[in-house]
Point group: C2
Chain length 213, copies 2
């Protein structure tokens, strides 16, 4: 038990070192020696926990993305399906923007994109834990709302993908290309979320709301 806890602490220390170094210097810019030094362990210990730099990078990607996705799932849970469709959409849009459009996750995404060609497993992991997880959740929720007559969409996956990218397209892509300075402030993100909900309901809602004014 004591051993297991110490091993867990070491595991965590290596992941923390990996996070600091990789986010700053990218996959190619970091050596396993640096990871060992920053984590204050031997290089042998690093390799005992993670068999390669690729494996460490994948583990660090999961360690950053899984909690973010879990947090979104907690804030917009299956209980949220008790909400009116419009309120569900609003909650999802606001929470997703707040949780995902952050400097750490945006930098991880830049790194994964920069390495996409050389390191396809990284892109696949990021896709599975990021957009695909969100779109799967939306599709699940939309099925419920279609069953109770609140959404009109012959293709729920397409509707889920369109809602996801309507929300994330502008802020994520601006952050990708222009850097963290392009991450919009909270107020702008909230106004954006509201407009995305309005657009989506006009196109897919069972009772499109009256147009503004």
């Amino acid at each position: 038990m004591g051993t297991s806890t110490r091993q867990q602490r070491t595991h965590k220390a290596i992941l923390n070192a990996a996070e600091d170094l990789f986010l700053r210097d990218g996959f190619l810019g970091v050596s396993m020696d640096q990871v060992a030094e920053t984590a204050a362990v031997s290089k042998q210990t690093v390799y005992a926990h993670f068999q390669s730099k690729e494996a460490l990078f994948l583990a660090f990607t999961q360690a950053l993305m899984e909690p973010a996705g879990d947090e979104l799932g907690k804030r917009v849970s299956e209980q949220s399906l008790d909400l009116e469709f419009e309120d569900y959409l609003r909650a999802f849009a606001h929470q997703q923007l707040a949780i995902v459009v952050t400097p750490k996750l945006m930098q991880l995404r830049r790194l994964a994109i920069g390495e996409a060609t050389r390191f396809p497993e990284l892109g696949a992991t990021l896709h599975k834990l990021g957009p695909a997880r969100s779109i799967n959740r939306l599709e699940f929720a939309f099925r419920h709302y279609r069953n109770i007559g609140q959404i009109r969409a012959p293709n729920l996956r397409e509707a889920a993908s369109n809602f996801n990218w309507l929300i994330m397209g502008a802020p994520v892509n601006d952050a990708m290309i222009l850097g963290d300075a392009a991450i919009p402030g909270r107020e702008l993100l909230e106004a954006h979320a509201e407009e995305c909900v309005r657009v989506f309901l006009a196109a897919y809602g069972a009772n499109p709301p009256a147009y503004f004014e």
Copy 2:
């Protein structure tokens, strides 16, 4: 005149070499020596045309992106504003997907994103010649269509950005993360364009079309 033509040919040869090498090996993976060798000129000549690797990368970025943007402007020109709003949107969506979602431009975009933190001028150039140029065009067109009563949008720039990312969000981001294999085929892209036009008109059209069935 003969000299100028030879200089232009040399300029073009260096840009072509830069394109081949940078798209394959990225900014950090290419040296000016390799560019000189591939272009079959001296390194001194490379530096006579482009003062630094950064300047060469920016020039290569412009050389790839400007013609793509010009081509979109030619295919969906100011004359296209004579079209019904729906047909204008359809033309824009189809042409933008066909011209932009290509392996070369997607790879350039991955490189720019991978370098965004270290090389902000590159991101700014890509943004100006890419999404910002498209959104500016849409905003210009939307002003015309609002004047003739075919679009209802208090904020034309927001409407333009939402249309742009509704179209580009899914295919561009999948290509960024998952690589060229994720670029959808022509038929899928066309179906996507049609659905984006339908969604956009439902939200912003003056006479939202009847819902399918």
